[in-house]
């Protein structure tokens, strides 16, 4: 998945497990950027009575690098607290919840937002209400309206939202984790002699009907751009790098007097996410936990995993005869400068007409957004591969088909950006897991926070 349960340790800590990051110029407010970090993967909507919530013991952050050093220059911190109206009932709510201050809502969450810039902190808002989870027609009868009240305006003309949303990331998990099966091409899979597939099939969106928890912030553009020249697509200062982290305090012990965990010590980063699928697809199993603890500035140590991605060697092996040019490229040992640019430094000027998102030579896994590229009037979910300069890997919009984009890039379609003599295999521009944005049943919103209304437990039982 993008980053759901992608590393051994964080897969045991879903509350702190970042799943996706989005960063884009807001289509309906183009003088702002929207940043979204999702946590708590694969939520079955019926998962009560303790419905999903953010971790009060977790420090959630969205970072912005404006000078290309792979370290945060601006950070938005989010801290949550949970309050029970009645600890003696087992119920999440004791009647219909029709407002954020409903007396029927027992287990509520609130949060604070703090902006940190070059070491200086400013609290932008506090005691901000999250919406409840979407339970069903009796408990949350008008969920869309209820959740929209949880979009808060805070200091600086900023909007924030933190709460449950429908999963917007679509991927055929069941197939891709079955030895990289891609259903639309599965008859071409080597199949280990098992003859499991005889014809192509449609993709299955494994995340359909699942929810996540989103932290979304919409910030006036002027507050996230550096002093360096910006405003034109060719300006280096127009490009910002975005990633999210979750941190926990280092020491934890179960306090049997209070029947809860207590924490102490410095914050330790336990989860990180910039580009989708980076840790998931590129980093070896033995290094994934380490990767989650590091800043993007340290990603040089993983550059070889990008230059020689394991999946690029697997595709020709698993789909014999389908990727001969990719196979030859892999066997040549040529470093994938195209992937290094896309994922680690950004694409310099002069490669794609009218576009760059280069942040400098420091190799770091961050989403690179050229803020001077306006939102597309007719967006392509294939982003740059679809000729849409406002889509991934220029930032990432909620509907971008990052699985197909990255599959095709790894399969070789982007090699000609750096080597005109290379001819991608015909299959490279066709490979996909067979899903599109239309595979997301909830759809998306046209306005902040853009991710769809979460699926309710009543209409989407978990079993």
């Amino acid at each position: 998945m993008s980053s759901h349960r992608e590393a051994p340790e964080i897969s045991k800590d879903p509350v702190a497990d970042s799943t996706d990051v989005y960063a884009f110029v807001s289509p309906d407010q183009p003088d702002t950027v929207t940043l979204i970090a999702n946590y708590i993967p694969l939520q079955g909507p019926a998962g009560g009575p303790n419905f999903y919530s953010f971790g009060p013991d977790v420090l959630y952050e969205i970072h912005i690098d404006v000078n290309g050093d792979g370290r945060p220059d601006i950070t938005y911190q989010f801290r949550f607290s949970t309050r029970l109206r009645d600890p003696d009932t087992f119920l999440y709510n004791t009647g219909p919840v029709t407002s954020l201050d409903s007396p029927n809502w027992n287990s509520r969450q609130f949060y604070s937002v703090t902006r940190v810039e070059y070491g200086k902190s400013e609290v932008l808002g506090s005691v901000l209400a999250c919406p409840p989870c979407n339970i069903g027609p009796l408990s949350t009868p008008d969920y869309a309206t209820l959740a929209s009240a949880a979009v808060h305006a805070v200091t600086g003309g900023i909007k924030v939202f933190a709460g449950q949303r429908a999963e917007g990331f679509y991927v055929d998990l069941g197939a891709v984790f079955d030895l990289a099966d891609l259903r639309p091409f599965e008859q071409l899979h080597a199949q280990y002699g098992l003859d499991a597939f005889t014809k192509a099939a449609s993709g299955v969106n494994a995340t359909a009907h699942l929810n996540v928890h989103s932290i979304a912030i919409q910030v006036p553009m002027s507050q996230v751009l550096p002093r360096a020249r910006h405003g034109q697509p060719g300006d280096r200062g127009s490009v910002i790098g975005i990633w999210t982290t979750a941190s926990r305090q280092k020491a934890r012990v179960w306090d049997s007097g209070d029947d809860r965990y207590v924490y102490s010590g410095p914050w330790q980063q336990v989860s990180r996410l910039g580009n989708p699928l980076f840790n998931e697809l590129l980093v070896g199993l033995g290094s994934k936990d380490l990767w989650n603890t590091l800043p993007p500035a340290d990603d040089k140590r993983f550059a070889d995993r990008v230059a020689h991605p394991e999946l690029a060697a697997l595709l020709p092996a698993l789909y014999p005869g389908v990727f001969p040019n990719l196979e030859a490229l892999v066997k040549s040992g040529t470093a994938r400068a195209d992937l290094e640019a896309i994922l680690l430094t950004g694409i310099p000027s002069g490669i794609i007409t009218g576009f760059q998102n280069y942040t400098g030579p420091t190799q770091s896994d961050v989403l690179r957004l050229n803020t001077a590229i306006p939102p597309s009037k007719v967006p392509s979910q294939l982003g740059l591969l679809g000729g849409d300069l406002a889509g991934y890997p220029n930032g990432r919009r909620v509907f971008d088909d990052v699985v197909t984009i990255e599959l095709r890039a790894i399969a070789g379609v982007t090699v000609p950006l750096v080597d005109k003599s290379f001819t991608p295999d015909g299959a490279a521009s066709a490979v996909t897991d067979g899903l599109t944005a239309a595979s997301v049943p909830s759809g998306y919103l046209d306005s902040f926070p853009y991710l769809g209304v979460p699926y309710s437990g009543f209409t989407t039982p978990s079993s």
Binding site: Y111, V116, G265, P266
Partner: protein
């Protein structure tokens, strides 16, 4: 990666009042109030042979950065050398005190 700053969030449920930054003295004082381990640390304080204050990891901290405002946890890293980490607030201090560790081990064995 947590950045190097502190958070002065007023959110009461997650950010209690923030006392001064952690210091060796405050760690020991906090440890003294933390039950058996605290007593042991306090009793052994005079015998501390040396300590190193670890570089604070880049850490925004919305939790109290002080001993006394929360639990104080001690991790004996190496019983042979007496090296231990003391966690208090959002601070971490490394101490080396073989005598104290011997005393603790005697107490729990």
């Amino acid at each position: 990666m947590p950045s190097s700053h502190t958070d002065s969030s007023p959110e009461p449920a997650v950010s209690p009042e923030r006392p001064p930054r952690v210091s060796r003295r405050s760690v020991l004082r906090g440890a003294a109030g933390a039950g058996a381990v605290g007593l042991a640390v306090a009793g052994g304080a005079a015998a501390v042979t040396g300590f190193t204050r670890q570089d604070q990891p880049a850490a925004p901290d919305a939790a109290p950065a002080v001993a006394g405002a929360g639990p104080v946890l001690v991790y004996l890293r190496d019983t042979a050398t007496g090296e231990m980490d003391v966690f208090a607030g959002t601070g971490q201090t490394r101490l080396r005190n073989p005598a104290l560790v011997r005393e603790l081990l005697r107490a729990i064995n």
